[in-house]
């Protein structure tokens, strides 16, 4: 079996093992903590029942999330998966376009201290600042702008779902880390290529910089791009639950968090499996595009 096929096979394998583990563990874990109110409106009825003298609480008082959202289970999951994938897809596009541009710029400006250093510092900062703080910060900035606008004028909504202005802030929060990651990897790889002998030769021959970058440098950088995108988007997937929760963007991340609160094992398992699948696919993508010498040793 080829290396690539093995890499692809690990996705269903991982998902099924995680699925079995979750099915065994989640209901057991839920029996060991009381349900709680995740947000106003998403609550278990159990908290409202009078304390029963000498009798354990009746099970099943908690309503499933699909009842609370008044949707069928399948509709709820499919709808939520699309909402989350929209964020991830947007993050991928942003990371590819902005991340590559920033990385190329950082590499080309590597001799100019302020420009190059500025980009490096910015990407380092962005990859270190937690996504939830970016989310809060963006929300507050928008609220401040909205507050300064004359009444009646419209600006970005700070939470809620919609494939319109609603998309901007969660997308930014989810993708900033991925952008920074892609930019850093691109810049590192591009600097290596720019310092190599054949580029020096090409420059000495008098080729135009634009031509050198497009024809001689970028083909060497392309594999790294995919690796950077894969690794960067993994960070986005990891921060997806909290970002969706903060923006009230009802994707699978938010559903999973709410399912923990209202003891909805089915929703939790399915959402966690979807996140796991996305995560593993991104890992496989990053590994496939990484130079293989590093891993072939074993």
């Amino acid at each position: 079996m080829t290396w690539a096929a093995l890499q692809l096979l690990r996705v269903p394998l991982t998902v099924s093992i995680v699925g079995i583990a979750l099915t065994l563990v989640v209901p057991l874990a839920m029996a060991h903590y009381p349900p709680y109110v995740v947000r106003p409106g998403i609550a278990c009825a159990r908290t409202a029942v009078p304390f029963d003298v000498g009798r354990p609480l009746a099970p099943g008082i908690c309503k499933g999330l699909h009842e609370l959202y008044r949707l069928s289970f399948t509709d709820l999951m499919v709808d939520s998966i699309f909402r989350s994938l929209a964020l991830l897809l947007g993050a991928a596009v942003l990371a590819l376009v902005l991340g590559t541009l920033l990385g190329v710029a950082a590499a080309l400006f590597r001799r100019r201290a302020w420009a190059g250093g500025g980009i490096v510092a910015m990407t380092t900062l962005l990859s270190a600042v937690p996504a939830f703080f970016v989310a809060y910060f963006l929300q507050i900035v928008v609220v401040l702008i909205v507050g300064a606008l004359p009444p009646g004028s419209r600006f970005l909504p700070v939470f809620g779902f919609g494939y319109d202005g609603h998309l901007v802030l969660p997308l930014l929060s989810v993708s900033l880390a991925a952008i920074a990651f892609t930019a850093q990897l691109t810049a590192t790889r591009m600097q290596e290529v720019l310092d190599s002998d054949f580029i020096t030769a090409a420059t000495a021959k008098g080729l135009a910089t634009r031509w050198i970058v497009a024809v001689h440098v970028l083909p060497h950088v392309r594999p790294v791009l995919l690796e950077g995108l894969g690794s960067g988007l993994r960070v986005s997937v990891a921060s997806l639950p909290i970002i969706e929760y903060l923006f009230n963007w009802r994707g699978i991340g938010q559903l999973a968090l709410e399912a923990v609160g209202v003891h909805d094992a089915a929703v939790l398992i399915v959402s966690a499996l979807v996140l796991t699948a996305v995560f593993t696919m991104l890992s496989a993508m990053a590994d496939l595009s990484r130079p293989r010498a590093l891993y072939r040793t074993g």
Partner: protein, 801 residues
């Protein structure tokens, strides 16, 4: 590269890393002492404006919902937060290195470790950590468990990176050369490979610390924190009340940053109280950036240097020395308000039995509030002098006497008297008549439809289901009437009332209907009797369908107190006693005790009938006249307009460990110290409410900032009950500082919980009461209040607010 000869020549990255390290260590060690305020907020007097308070002069970065200063909280929480994330980061990397080493040295485990890492890194860490924290973090778990939750899913990242690096090194020429020379495996790792791993480990350590920090923050946002939590009512601080548990803030016991994010999460927080989110969020973000910078700096420095060489240099020595010095200094610098502990010890030492409170006040140098230390009142009231009894044929039923007061369901309570303005007392002997449940359509006026909540119209239901009139075939005049409580009807209409149950009439109304028809005495059978407590508060208890809530007999007696010792004696009995009465006459109580099924033909025939014997009911009442004497005095040299702290205890003549001794001890300790304290030893006999009013009148114009009620100081730990959430963290902290045994307050009391104990309902009150066991807690109570006084005297920055 040459060795640096001192910090002056150290490279800027190393310097940056050292400065950040020292900064974080100092924040962790001194945070609480650097903070402008304490991490608790003990509000005695504040403006009525709703909390959280805006950033301003008193609170540089604003306050949280409890009114605690956010900057101080962030500084005080630095230690716990940084310890947790540092431990978690270290543990993650260590676990990663160990697993990588095992996988690298022992080939067969490689596939296993690699697959495990793959699985672990594929599952979203936030979800797993959230569930682990929810399942395992309990009141008795430590910080280590929280760290474990963070490590569980975090080791895979370092493992992947370090294993790749170890593999690369294992195939490098210098490793092969060393092997050929016969270098041992351990020495090879320590001397040749580890220096190459340092930059990777440094970078990874910083990444993992940041990842743990982010996870702590995310769990905080989701209200899952390090250690135990308590739910504190913040109702009084909200501008808008919403139904449900939203009005409670979940507060973490350990002061750490995640907990600050939890209570800040609301829509208003974005628009109005932004500092709630921004201040702890910025603390997280700044720390994350600082730690990332440190990792970056270390990785950069050791990419081309040997760590061991640096460790032997003067720079490392200086850094180590500086860190050590910080630790030493933090051990030496005294805590805030250390002197208040002496006040606590003094109050504890001053505790001794007191016979004459007035004289004790005089010796302590207190000033009388009224004309003398004593406030006297001449009163007369109706009191019950013995157990209520009922004799029906051979059966003699008696109330437990003296009445055992309970704060929960008491299955042994089978009988109680019901004395109110509408009923009465005395001895009645008369013919016994059974009046069923006293259902009569004539007693119920149709309820006019109300806008708003649906209300059950029992009268309409009685007519609709054609209930027989229980009073139609009998004459109750001058007789002893046996009545069964009409609990209600199950599910008349699905949406008509609470869960479809229509509740029957109030018990006092059923009794009143019988008395209006001329009953001489009433024996009322109530299946809920054992579920009523003696607190004037609403606590729901349930057994099957029967629910006990607010004790209706206490409520009715409080609304309409008795005016004379005569009247119609009424006793309420449980279904156990009820069965003893009923079986003599072959009456089956079972169909009468539960909820009725709508339209059941059984209820169209009334079970009421004359029982053919005479019965005797007695509720002994007497009008008592007495003189009550409460003592009160205040500390001298207090500004007239200062808000006073009133320490209040009841007079308990003959008690083994009277709480009044604590009041006297405090009077001795605080007498000459100019703190705004007022001491009250209160006489609750005959008519407590009127006596309390007399004390209030004596206090006159003095403002009461806080009322501390001491009650039954026996047990193994003090328990604090207060509906004022802002007092809770302060009391717990002060009790800890004063070394007073206490129970951590987990919940804010409901406002009704104190209504029987708090003498003044409009004053901020805390009830201190012993809990569990037989120990003497009076010393602990004295120490706690002594500390509180000292804390107030040595700095109460919130008071000027």
């Amino acid at each position: 590269m040459t060795r640096p000869r001192g910090l002056g020549r150290a490279d800027p990255w190393a310097l940056t890393a050292s400065v950040i390290l020292l900064g974080l260590v100092s924040a962790a060690l001194f945070g609480e002492r650097l903070a402008p305020h304490e991490a608790v907020y003990f509000v005695l007097e504040h403006e009525q404006g709703p909390r959280p308070f805006d950033p301003g002069l008193v609170f540089p970065l604003g306050s949280d919902v409890l009114g605690r200063d956010l900057l101080s909280l962030v500084l005080a929480g630095a230690r716990a937060t940084l310890t947790v994330v540092l431990l978690a980061g270290l543990a993650r990397v260590l676990a990663g290195v160990l697993v990588a080493a095992v996988g690298s040295w022992w080939r067969p485990t490689r596939l296993l470790t690699a697959s495990l890492a793959e699985l672990v890194s594929a599952v979203p860490a936030t979800l797993v950590a959230l569930i682990v924290v929810r399942v395992f973090v309990r009141a008795d778990t430590s910080v280590l468990l929280f760290v474990g939750a963070l490590v569980l899913m975090g080791w895979a990242g370092p493992y992947r990176v370090i294993r790749a690096e170890v593999d690369r090194l294992a195939h490098s020429p210098f490793t092969e050369g060393a092997r050929v020379l016969g270098v041992t495996r351990w020495r090879l790792f320590w001397r040749h490979q580890l220096p190459h791993l340092v930059p990777v480990i440094a970078m990874n350590l910083s990444q993992q610390v940041v990842a743990s920090l982010v996870l702590v923050a995310e769990l905080g946002v989701l209200s899952a924190f390090v250690g135990t939590t308590r739910v504190i009512n913040v109702e009084e601080s909200l501008s808008l009340l919403r139904p449900g548990p939203v009005n409670s803030a979940v507060i973490s016991d350990t002061s750490e940053w995640g907990g600050l994010l939890a209570s800040s999460r609301s829509v208003e927080a974005l628009w109005v109280t932004r500092w709630l989110i921004l201040v702890p969020g910025a603390a997280f973000a700044l720390t994350a950036v600082a730690v990332a910078t440190m990792g970056f700096a270390l990785a950069r420095r050791y990419a081309r240097r040997d760590l061991l060489q640096d460790l032997r240099g003067p720079g490392a020595l200086a850094l180590g020395g500086a860190v050590l010095a910080l630790f030493v200094v933090s051990g030496v610098v005294p805590e805030r308000y250390a002197a208040a502990r002496e006040w606590a010890a003094a109050a504890r030492a001053d505790l001794r039995p007191v016979n004459d409170v007035g004289r004790a006040f005089g010796e302590a140098g207190l000033r009388p509030v009224a004309d003398g230390y004593a406030v006297e009142r001449h009163v007369s009231a109706i009191v019950q002098t013995g157990p209520a009894t009922a004799r029906i044929g051979p059966v003699l039923l008696a109330e437990q006497w003296p009445t055992r007061l309970t704060d929960g369901p008491d299955p042994e309570r089978n009988m109680r008297s019901f004395v109110s303005g509408g009923t009465g007392g005395g001895l009645v002997e008369g013919a016994l008549v059974f009046a069923g449940r006293g259902i009569s359509a004539r007693d119920h006026q149709p309820v006019p439809p109300l806008i708003g909540a649906p209300r059950t119209d029992v009268a309409a239901l009685i007519r609709e289901y054609e209930y027989a009139d229980d009073y139609e075939g009998i004459d109750v005049r001058g007789k002893v009437v046996v009545l069964v409580r009409f609990v209600g009807i199950r599910g008349p209409r699905p949406d008509a009332s609470l869960n479809g149950y229509a509740r029957g009439p109030l018990p006092e109304d059923s009794i009143a209907h019988a008395i209006r028809r001329g009953a001489a005495a009433v024996i009322f059978i109530d299946p809920s009797l054992s579920m009523y407590n003696d607190l004037p508060a609403t606590v729901l208890y349930r057994r099957g369908e029967v629910v006990g809530g607010h004790n209706p007999y206490l409520r009715a007696a409080a609304w309409e107190p008795p005016t004379d010792a005569g009247g119609v004696p009424v006793v309420v009995v449980s279904e156990v006693y009820g069965a003893q009465i009923a079986q003599q006459f072959g009456i089956d109580l079972a169909p009468l005790l539960g909820f009725d099924v709508p339209d059941d033909p059984r209820y169209r025939v009334s079970p009421s009938r004359d029982l053919g014997i005479t019965a005797r009911v007695e509720v002994p009442l007497r009008r008592e006249a007495a003189t009550t004497r409460s003592y009160l005095a205040e500390v001298t040299d207090v500004p007239d307009d200062a808000g006073r702290i009133v320490v209040w205890s009841d007079r308990e003549p003959g008690a083994d460990r009277p709480a009044a001794d604590v009041v006297a001890a405090l009077a001795r300790t605080l007498g000459g110290r100019g703190v705004p304290f007022v001491f009250v030893v209160f006489d609750p006999s005959v008519d407590p409410a009127a006596n309390a009013r007399a004390v209030r009148d004596a206090l006159g114009h003095r403002r009461i900032a806080l009322l501390v009620v001491l009650d039954r100081l026996e047990g193994s730990a003090l328990r604090f009950t207060t509906p004022h959430g802002d007092l809770v963290p302060a009391l717990d902290l002060y009790a800890e500082k004063a070394a007073a045994r206490h129970e951590t307050t987990r919940l804010t009391a409901k406002p009704g919980d104190l209504s029987g104990v708090a003498p003044f309902p409009d004053v901020k009150t805390v009830l201190i009461r012993g809990q569990g066991g037989q120990g003497d807690l009076r010393g602990d109570a004295a120490a706690l209040i002594g500390y509180l006084a000292g804390r107030l005297a040595f700095g109460a920055e919130e008071v000027p607010r």
